[in-house]
């Protein structure tokens, strides 16, 4: 019985993941639930595939999480200036300052404060924002949706560009086609996402440059604002297209270059010659036989770029006035609201670590070749 489950593990996990996505799409549960189910599937899958490895990995992640929480807290605690004065303004009297300091617990020793804060974090309490006067956990979970949407769309767009181009460039290695694809992608790699975003707004939404009275550009897409998915699906995607594109193209370049070099390596293997001598059409060889073994580095890197995407999402949210996590933290920074920043940085780092671990777990569950071996390049 157990062996039977293990043999079909890849399929079972894949079906479970797809089912979760479908469930999340139709029933719209809170984000944390969906995420929790994903983590559960990944952990159980990895546990069945190689229980000892999964346990070791989880044991390794916990000190990192604690370390991150400590660094974030210590950083915010060592900020110059008295937070109480930041809240009350320079005109505050000594009595008022004393009251606010007690309220924030600033008079206690450092490790007590850290302990209290960590205790709160573990029960989902990130404190109350100083400026917004709002629960930080609520604020972050509210702003999480747009950020995750942008990130998800841009990964899809990036892969949509990178996979066909990477396959094609790898197949035509050394030719003009390969060179052109490479150079164009190098161009996108060199374009900072905020520059690309400004250019996209200029040429696709406000009519572009006007040369001698002629517009070189279009007015087809909206340049700002966020429309929730639940409100209007078409409008939602229309508004999300430019921000996602701005974020996606740099990633597409990275993905494409990786896939290309892996394709080149795969296409030299004997089984490709076998497939060819059996008379299979090129398209089938490329997409069916060569893509799968070439795509594992790509998948690892997709997981790793989540961290970059969060930073990029911040800028894109700023440009397109989307109320995401990046915008939330940015607001916290400009208002010197350290509780909001603390919460935001902690949540994002935690998410990033969990996502990285999960991506390793998922390979382990999905790819039988990896079982019993160390997964990924990271220790």
């Amino acid at each position: 019985m157990k062996q039977a489950v293990r043999d079909q593990l890849g399929r079972i996990v894949a079906v479970a993941l797809l089912a979760t996505i479908a469930w999340a799409w139709f029933w719209r549960p809170p984000f944390s639930w969906t995420f929790g189910v994903f983590v559960l599937i990944g952990t159980v899958g990895a546990g069945i595939a190689d229980g000892r490895y999964a346990l070791r990995r989880i044991a390794g992640v916990i000190p990192v999480l604690v370390g991150v929480s400590f660094v974030v807290f210590a950083l915010m605690a060592s900020l110059p200036g008295d937070p109480a004065i930041n809240i009350l303004g320079p005109a505050a009297t000594a009595d008022q300052i004393a009251i606010v300091r007690t309220e924030l617990g600033l008079d206690e020793p450092f490790f007590n404060r850290y302990g209290n804060w960590l205790g709160g974090v573990l029960t989902g309490d990130l404190g109350t924002s100083i400026v917004l006067r709002e629960d930080v956990a609520d604020g972050i979970s509210r702003s999480m949706t747009p950020t995750l949407q942008i990130m998800a769309y841009s990964v899809v767009i990036a892969l949509g560009f990178a996979i066909p181009l990477g396959i094609w460039a790898g197949y035509r290695q050394g030719t003009k086609t390969d060179g052109t694809i490479n150079n164009v992608m190098l161009g996108f790699l060199a374009t900072p996402n905020f520059v690309l975003a400004v250019m996209l707004v200029l040429f696709l939404s406000i009519g572009g440059l006007s040369v001698a009275g002629n517009e070189i550009g279009f007015r087809v897409l909206p340049a700002a604002r966020y429309v929730p998915l639940g409100e209007d699906v078409v409008l939602h995607f229309k508004h999300m297209l430019l921000p996602s594109l701005a974020l996606a193209m740099g990633q597409a370049a990275v993905f494409m270059r990786l896939l290309r070099s892996d394709m080149i390596a795969t296409l030299r293997l004997p089984f490709i010659d076998l497939a060819r001598s059996k008379g299979l059409p090129t398209r089938r060889i490329l997409w069916r036989h060569a893509l799968r073994p070439s795509s594992f580095t790509l998948l690892t890197v997709v997981g790793l770029t989540v961290g970059l995407l969060i930073g990029g999402a911040l800028i894109v949210e700023f440009i397109f006035t989307i109320p995401g996590v990046g915008a939330y933290i940015f607001l916290g920074v400009t208002q010197r609201d350290f509780i909001a920043v603390q919460g935001g940085v902690l949540v994002i780092s935690t998410l990033y670590i969990v996502v990285l671990t999960m991506s390793d777990f998922l390979y382990l569950a999905l790819d039988p070749r990896l079982r019993g071996r160390e997964v990924g390049a990271r220790a």
Partner: protein
């Protein structure tokens, strides 16, 4: 047979040299004062007197781009050099010495990769005050912090492969001390890979500085920065796109040139490892 680097490579190098020289000698070159407002030229497009046009208050965009290059180049160069020294040293030590040192260093370095760069940066920006010098210091500090781990990784991998070679073994058999082996035997072989990589890191730092300036958190306003110019120009994007477009193009070309030169050098030194 020596390989050639190609025409575009030298074109890119020439561009970078010209840009760097222009930025360094901006004060003596016959270009306009970046702070001067020319009356009646607000939002004017490129012309013979003002090559890149004028911005919203009539300042010369060309000279502001040149002066903006100072900030970008200084911060990215200093950041890269420091990161190179620290990261390179850590990487070499980590790759050369026993597994325990290696394990600890690798684990510590990986831990710095856990916080997404721009987010970490924002958290550190809270420490910033208005004072320009302190701000530059913190910017550079953060950039160094962000680029140590990737550099150390690349150098570590290179050191690992060189440390196993016969000539290193020979040096050690002859009784050379670790320091000598590291600096005289391994460093010259590892150097090409991290010199070319450093250009790519530098390009990355220019982008990060640009992003930070775009958010209005880099060097404060009287000093022009590319990111800030692009951001401020957005308000006039529909009537005078050149205010954003010009610094954006210069920045794009600079980053492209750095990436290209770094890429080519890497292929030149190590044709096998020219993957990313």
């Amino acid at each position: 047979m020596r390989k050639r680097l190609g025409f575009i490579f030298w074109l890119a190098v020439a561009y970078l040299v010209v840009l760097a020289l222009a930025a360094v000698f901006a004060d003596v070159l016959p270009i306009k004062d970046p702070a001067e407002t020319f009356p009646g030229t607000s939002k004017q497009g490129p012309s013979l007197t003002h090559w890149f046009g004028n911005d919203g208050v009539g300042r010369d965009v060309f000279s502001r781009v040149i002066y903006g290059a100072q900030v970008s180049l200084v911060i990215s160069t200093v950041g890269t050099v420091l990161a190179l020294v620290i990261g390179g040293l850590l990487g070499m030590v980590s790759g050369y010495f026993s597994s325990r040192v290696d394990r600890w260093l690798t684990a510590t370095l990986n831990a710095t990769l856990v916080i997404p760069p721009l987010i970490l940066f924002l958290a550190l920006v809270l420490f910033l005050d208005g004072e320009a010098k302190r701000r530059i210091f913190i910017l550079v500090f953060t950039f160094v912090l962000l680029s140590i781990a990737p550099i150390a990784r690349v150098v570590r991998a290179a050191t690992l492969s060189w440390a196993g070679q016969d000539f290193v073994l020979a040096a050690r058999t002859l009784g050379a001390r670790d320091g000598r082996v590291l600096f005289r035997e391994i460093l010259p072989n590892v150097a090409p890979s991290f010199v070319s990589y450093s250009l790519i890191i530098m390009a990355g730092l220019i982008v990060v500085e640009g992003s930070v300036a775009f958010l209005g958190l880099s060097v404060p306003p009287p000093t022009p920065t590319w990111g800030d110019m692009i951001n401020k120009g957005r308000t006039n994007l529909d009537v005078a796109a050149h205010i954003s477009l010009m610094p954006a193009i210069v920045m794009f070309v600079t980053v492209l040139a750095l990436n290209f030169v770094g890429d080519k050098l890497q292929q030149y030194f190590e044709p096998r490892e020219s993957v990313l």
